[in-house]
């Protein structure tokens, strides 16, 4: 392996910095390094609570090759386990399902409770003998990853070394504490999935900044001009953009979605869109939110899982189903408009003379903030 390139040129001020080198987008060796130092070493999004809504619901997820099992236990708590039996390493659950009792390995039927304890190891001591002095049940529960649910996103720290989620993201939790209330998923039409040929970071970078809006999303220009946006930058934590002119969607009869309760005046016409490093993109507005989990499939392939949420459920407001449909279509259009740029930037990074690019000091602060964080994570990984 070649000596890794230094990232000093990234870790300087936005006025002078270059972006991350091409290798961070096209080199599988660097992708593997980022897997460990960036995605496993921090709190990454791996799914949504709405995918396991009922007690006993279990959903297997492959996160960068790690088999995970998302489980909601009988008390409603969400767990993320390694989807691997402690006996012979068999995958425990192949497809999403509801588990009424225990998680039974399909190979030798070792059984685990929804809270991860080993409940039975049949015939482990011989036929009809379910104990053995050297097989300690209490030591053989499922491997459990640290998990935290916020804005319905299930965050996981794979390497177990990150500071607690509430500590890492204390500033953002405080900034958006007004939206820390029940969210109601909009239903099947409010789930969007985009498969894009790009490195996952380019989706973050494009989401962070408003610079591209008048060029890529001209439909927003009529009411959401560039000058109505502001940068959001928290060094080492998150970045994004805000708007001062969020306008509610209105139906044919003038109907709107109900607001979240007790919001301050800021949100009457405000909306904020933040990348929660590394791979979660969130948006909040007075009447609906959305969450995007970027699933890095490979160095140059990413799946965007997009979910829309409302203050009131569809059951409570069935008359708004057409408006929810309209809103989903609107966001789908916006997110699809971004595909050509994230795929285009990916192609561009195969140009060997590209030097990571220079930033607009005025407009690209949020993107540079992200690059700086990624570089810091990588340097920390190299130093350890």
């Amino acid at each position: 392996m070649n000596k890794p390139s230094t990232l000093q040129s990234v870790m300087t001020s936005v006025n002078r910095a270059n972006g991350l080198p091409n290798a961070h987008y096209i080199d599988p060796v660097v992708f593997a390094e980022e897997r460990a130092s960036v995605l496993f070493a921090s709190w990454s999004g791996v799914g949504f609570g709405k995918d396991i809504p009922e007690p006993g619901d279990a959903k297997p997820v492959d996160f960068l090759g790690v088999p995970l099992l998302l489980v909601r236990d009988q008390d409603g708590a969400i767990h993320v386990y390694q989807n691997t039996c402690r006996h012979r390493g068999m995958i425990l659950v192949e497809e999403a399902k509801n588990i009424r009792g225990t998680i039974r390995c399909p190979y030798h039927s070792w059984c685990y409770s929804l809270k991860g304890q080993l409940r039975a190891a049949p015939h482990v001591g011989g036929v009809g003998q379910n104990t053995h002095e050297d097989v300690k049940m209490a030591e053989l529960g499922l491997v459990s990853f640290r998990a935290h649910v916020w804005q319905d996103v299930i965050f996981v720290n794979i390497d177990g070394k990150a500071a607690p989620f509430e500590e890492v993201h204390a500033e953002l939790l405080d900034r958006w504490q007004e939206f820390d209330r029940p969210l109601h998923h909009g239903g099947p039409e409010s789930s969007l999935k985009l498969e894009v040929n790009t490195n996952w970071k380019l989706a973050v970078e494009n989401y962070c900044e408003s610079y591209h809006l008048p060029w890529v999303h001209p439909g927003l220009n009529s009411y959401s001009r560039l000058e109505d946006h502001y940068n959001i930058e928290s060094p080492g934590k998150y970045s994004g953009q805000g708007t001062l002119v969020y306008r509610q969607l209105r139906g044919a009869e003038g109907e709107v979605f109900p607001d979240f309760d007790a919001l301050s005046d800021k949100w009457t016409t405000g909306g904020e869109y933040v990348a929660v490093y590394p791979n979660v993109l969130l948006g909040v507005q007075r009447d609906h939110t959305f969450a995007i989990v970027l699933e890095p499939r490979s160095c140059e392939q990413t799946v965007e899982h997009i979910e829309l949420y409302y203050a009131k459920s569809s059951a409570e407001t069935p008359e708004l189903d057409p408006l929810r449909h309209q809103n989903a279509q609107l966001w789908k259009t916006v997110f699809e408009e971004d595909i050509f740029v994230v795929e285009g930037m990916q192609k561009g990074r195969h140009g060997p003379m590209f030097d990571g690019g220079r930033f607009s000091p005025a407009m690209d602060g949020p993107t540079h903030n992200f690059h700086h964080w990624v570089a810091t994570q990588i340097e920390a990984g190299r130093a350890s």
Binding site: H123, G128, N130, T131
Partner: protein
């Protein structure tokens, strides 16, 4: 299947075996609990503790998987033979 029989005939044993295979094929877990428990009862009456505990274990595992309360009863029987740890409540 008549659980009151003291011993099951070869024909009954064959029918039980076929029923167990069918329940496996249909992923009918509650039925598997029932059938393995019948097999365990039969072996227990014959005094074949090892075979009884094999079938009790099978019944117990599927009862655990389905989350039915009978798992506790089956577990207690295995524990009584020294063949399992007591289930936590």
């Amino acid at each position: 299947m008549n659980a009151e029989w003291t011993q099951i005939s070869p024909q009954e044993a064959a029918a039980l075996h076929a029923a167990i295979l069918a329940a496996h094929a249909n992923h009918d877990l509650e039925r598997l609990v029932e059938l393995y428990a019948i097999a365990a009862d039969s072996k227990e009456r014959e005094g074949d503790v090892d075979a009884a505990c094999f079938f009790l274990t099978q019944a117990f595992v599927f009862a655990l998987e389905t989350g039915i309360s009978r798992a506790h009863e089956l577990n207690r029987r295995l524990v009584a033979y020294g063949r399992a740890w007591p289930l936590e409540p």
